[in-house]
Subunit: 249 residues, 3 copies
């Protein structure tokens, strides 16, 4: 049973995702469709990239990942299908697929645009049909010409400080209001954010309800959280805010 | 593997959709459930009708579409199952299924209401059980008596003007803030909305970031959009607003 | 085809649910994943418990229900797998699984925590792997030691009044703004809420558009609603508000 995941910023109520699913299942009736999300903030390619980075490699080999966050649809930006570490991904050439593309051995093709494709809805008319072909066993190179110039986005790296710490920033805010930073640590040190100093704890339960803490999140990056609360709201800060990691003396 | 899509205005958090899915999979364990949306604005039959119009025919023949946006649940409104173009649909008789019902050859039955059905939750007790029977291969006429009086809703048509243009209106606003109108065009002309004149472009990329434009959307209807923005918010207008298409002289 | 449902408060946009789905399908590739909801209010165990109560038994025997609303993740709260009435459920030991646990014959084990599990994401590293084992046919006792001390939450019961009525409260508010109470009735009597007296009706259609009414909801509990409107907004009240049922004299 071939697997196809879907990540878009379409919401679901308008039926655009419904159209895509219809195309997918008309072309690959035995595919198992797996919704990742359709609630990515509209046109936020960077948000979608960070989301895609989390899940794409957790799925089994052969999975086809469909990713459509595509503010430049209909311009001359390329449409891509890629193969990386045994998984496939299909989406616009705006960097959203970088987490898979940056892995050694990744390969990409620029999709042929079908005649009559709506210039405002490549999700339905370009990407879903390409996913169908992959779900039905087509090889990557059957979908278009090899393409070596894919747009790449990278997570900004924290800067090493002379005192052994790091200067970084908040990459994003999750649904719980946790501030995900680009600071990396093995669990020791103190985080400075918005003038506050927070020792790195192991988990939420290490502080009292309502207290701020820093911890190493499930992806190895330092997060700032409020136990039972919302750190972004408590601090009034969000994506792009500066944070510093101070090593213990 | 029989396919069953779901469109409701229930949200998901309360578990009503969960109950329906349990009924569906208890009765048809091999069915593949496909969420279209549960985020239709509460009790907005017209919104749901436009959404249903988009996707129902994109799915393969034999698909069962379950549509429950049902403000009059428990009154004497009929409960319907219909067959149209090889697909099935189940839902209340309030016009939401019109896109399928208006196709030549469509047939409908009025569902028998099972004894003990909750008068406030036909989704679980009437529509899901009917979908189960269709998923298991029942013929339409096994579900109830033929019914030829289904409520029909039609998209209001734009009015032809003496100068060759059209007077129309905004049918809805999608998640991106695009204003979907009932104006039809092959791509030429100028759209007047809220005192502004917008030439019809091919796609978003034909104007600068933040600029208003009109274009022919993926369903052949004219849309008004802001590149990288939200036209509904920019113009402060929504469903029902008047628009005019002016032909080029 | 083994069934696995998912209920979380993660939202979908951040990709945490995507990670869990990847773990599930990597371990049990033929499983059919069924989203219940990811929109439970953040960290609201009580809300999730009421949602879980609605759907868990509607699914066929053998279904694995994954429930991750887990504000105390990473503390020493136990992680549970339970078997009840032929269904399985996996989730934190905070009472969210009580509806299944309170059924006679229910059994629970405390899950072994895999070495290296992220202390902030047991959904991915503890609960999803346990669900995989159940989906692949493991017996409950293979997942950990028997555990008889699971946290239990019960829906507060309405209090019987000397006049034969009941004093109760609003358990929750659904997406339509319906106030779900803990009053039980077979359909007769009058509900007092916020100083208003409402006769119990059969369904929304028994009153005029915009009018308040009380009715017996689809789970046998009395609800207060506004036909075509939102009772919570109209009355300005929500969870915890007091309600009284007066028997007819």
């Amino acid at each position: 049973m071939p697997l196809c995941t879907l990540l878009t910023d379409f919401g679901t109520a308008d039926g655009y995702v419904g159209e895509m699913k219809g195309v997918l299942l008309s072309g690959a009736p035995s595919a198992h469709l797996v919704d990742i999300s359709h609630d990515v903030p509209a046109q936020d390619v960077e948000f979608a990239r960070l989301t895609f980075a989390r899940y794409w490699r957790r799925f089994p080999e052969g999975t086809v990942h469909l990713v459509v966050v595509d503010p430049d649809v209909g311009t001359d930006r390329k449409a891509l299908a890629i193969e990386s570490d045994g998984r496939f991904a299909v989406g616009p050439d705006n960097g959203v697929l970088s987490p898979a593309m940056l892995l050694p051995g990744a390969r990409a093709v620029a999709l042929d645009i079908p005649h009559g494709a709506a210039p405002t809805f490549h999700g339905r008319d370009v990407f879903a049909p390409a996913a169908v072909r992959l779900l039905n066993g087509a090889a990557l190179e059957e979908l278009g010409a090899w393409y070596s110039d894919a747009a790449l986005r990278r997570t900004p790296e924290a800067q090493r400080r002379v005192d052994g710490g790091q200067d970084g920033l908040v990459l994003g805010v999750d649904r719980f209001g946790n501030l995900i930073t680009n600071l990396t640590a093995r669990g020791d040190g103190t985080v400075e954010i918005d003038g506050k100093l927070l020792r790195i704890m192991r988990t939420y339960g290490d502080v009292s309800e309502g207290d701020l803490l820093a911890l190493v999140g499930s992806h190895g990056l330092i997060e700032v959280a409020v136990r039972g609360g919302n750190a972004a709201r408590t601090l009034g800060i969000g994506r792009g805010a500066l944070v510093t990691l101070r090593r213990d003396p």
